[in-house]
Subunit: 343 residues, 2 copies
């Protein structure tokens, strides 16, 4: 398969911006100021504020590649996964197909870029409705399919066999957005990369403690990465985010411990929610739980009056709120408040 | 003038992503981790790494609005000006018109987004070639005109009266990119905002000591800002860049002193370059100087062998290199090396 055939003509003809770092002693090439704010920045990383960030994010790239056991050329960083969605739709165009309800940015960015959006409802278990989905894939020939698994806001993973069917049926690119994978009992589908040339994974650091940084990345075959890299802004990941991500990602034990705690708290939260009359929590493989309540607006507002902010998703999933798993103390406070409101 | 008529239909129908901050005590709405890396981040700003950044950059916005004497609703931030160019072309579409040589990203991003690019050569003094430019504006009706003034890589400001003529003749948006304005003897054209509804300014912190942050912003009428904001990614400026920019921008004396030094060094550099046989430096209102040499590849490579990196612009401006103004010591080293190479 020639990946370029999936890429818009305008993008195929484009050359990636050349922003490679050239070793030197006195750097006078990039219209930077020679004066930085070392003491403001140095406290954290010694970064010189006046210099552009590493456009290739080399240190971070090596760390993540090693971690995921993929090549450094298989990774492309975004200023959050949001930006990667922008780049993917810019690169491959539309139609853009995705199940609903799902992460809203696929549709928003698809529309911003003027591409056709096709939405296929999930089945009653929030899994892919294979019949309709595959028929749509074959008929509409989407350039891009976005599958968020675990899915936001429903929390479940889509069935592996159904995802595989979509992959088999797709002539375009299939993007599996694994933003919430670290919280899942399933292992993630990264090993599929060697079997499907049209497959792209998205991951993010935003859910595992580093949302302030805005750092997402995609993993795919180097041929795909090269094409998407042509539309990437050369300095899209700032120097501080790169450095802080590197220092944080090295603290694996801390990461793992925080994820374990969140997963354990998710179980406790789910079980407690199950016991409350009038509340239906849906199973979750993510760091949040979707729950159906009788009067979502009332519950949402009552929680907020107690200072507890959840997400009212009534527009996307009738009758539902989404609650992110907090600290044990926060979860307990949430449960207590919720019981007072609905009981 | 109804600005919406200039906006692509897909964008007009779009609603800006709602990412307003809602005050709360326990925040459980945004799928963030409750665990951050306080000690890594706190050293600089006390930012909690696990929380998304302020999508409105309120503190920074107020600071800059006050500084420029514009309203807070007149500003839109980008992850560097590069991202603003993406957003502008996404919002308004093409054709995209700009003089050449100029900043390369107008053309690169225009092409990435599949829009027609129209390039009009500058005149022999690197000023706008009014006749050709205006004819092209009238004939091609560009949706966007980009004018970098001071212009990169030529260094000069375009004549005010010629810019005004372009503004008068344009039915589309005119973007004046003032990335290098802080180094100019001219005052910048921001006051024109009240006279032209189709005018947008771009500014950046990248040239005045904060390139590592990736922070650009545009200034325009609120009606324009609202439309562009629809295609902006809600968390496009990370928390660290916001905080560091705020703390740096408060140090106005330091900023001004560094700019004064750069401007003084630019004069010295220019005068010394003028005296070297075979070198022609062009006048500059920016933090760099464009210079014509006999053999740009040779000079470039010879400088690099001495550890001095400049930009070889031979492809864009025949025979030319671009040298950024460095510290006095760096500039002296550059001049010494250059003399050795060409004399």
């Amino acid at each position: 398969m020639d990946i370029r055939k999936l890429v818009k003509n305008e993008v195929v003809g484009l050359k990636a911006y050349n922003a490679k770092e050239i070793p030197c002693r006195i750097k006078l090439d990039a219209n930077e100021s020679p004066y930085g704010f070392a003491d403001a920045a140095k406290r954290i990383t010694g970064i010189r504020t006046n210099r552009y960030p590493d456009p290739e994010a080399k240190v971070l790239r090596q760390l993540i590649a090693k971690d995921l056991k993929v090549g450094t050329g298989d990774i492309l960083f975004g200023n959050g996964s949001d930006e990667l969605i922008y780049y993917l739709i810019t690169t491959f165009g539309g139609p853009v197909l995705y199940p609903v309800p799902t992460f809203s940015m696929y549709g928003i960015i698809g529309q911003a870029l003027g591409e056709e959006k096709i939405e296929v409802p999930l089945d009653k278990d929030f899994d892919l409705d294979t019949d309709v989905f595959l028929t749509t894939v074959r008929k509409k020939k989407p350039k891009l399919v976005f599958l968020s698994s675990p899915n936001n806001p429903t929390g479940n993973c889509f069935s592996t066999d159904r995802i595989l069917k979509v992959l088999e049926a797709s002539k375009g690119i299939v993007v599996i957005d694994e933003a919430y994978q670290p919280f899942s009992s399933e292992r993630g589908m990264l090993p599929l990369l060697k079997d499907y040339e049209n497959l792209i994974f998205m991951r993010t650091l935003s859910k595992i403690g580093l949302a302030a940084l805005r750092l997402g990345f995609m993993v795919a075959a180097p041929g795909i990465i090269e094409e998407v890299n042509k539309v990437r802004l050369p300095f899209n990941v700032n120097a501080f985010s790169q450095a802080i991500a590197v220092s944080a990602l090295k603290r694996k034990k801390e990461f793992r411990a925080s994820i374990r705690t969140i997963v354990a708290e998710r179980s406790r939260l789910w079980e407690e929610l199950e016991r409350i009359a009038g509340i239906k929590p849906f199973p979750s493989e993510a760091n949040f739980i979707l729950l159906r309540v009788d009067d979502p607006a009332h519950v949402y507002n009552s929680l907020l009056r107690k200072g507890i902010l959840v997400r009212n998703l009534n527009d996307a999933v009738k009758g539902c709120l989404r609650v992110t798993v907090g600290t044990p103390k926060e979860n307990t406070a949430f449960l207590k408040a919720l019981k007072k409101i609905v009981c």
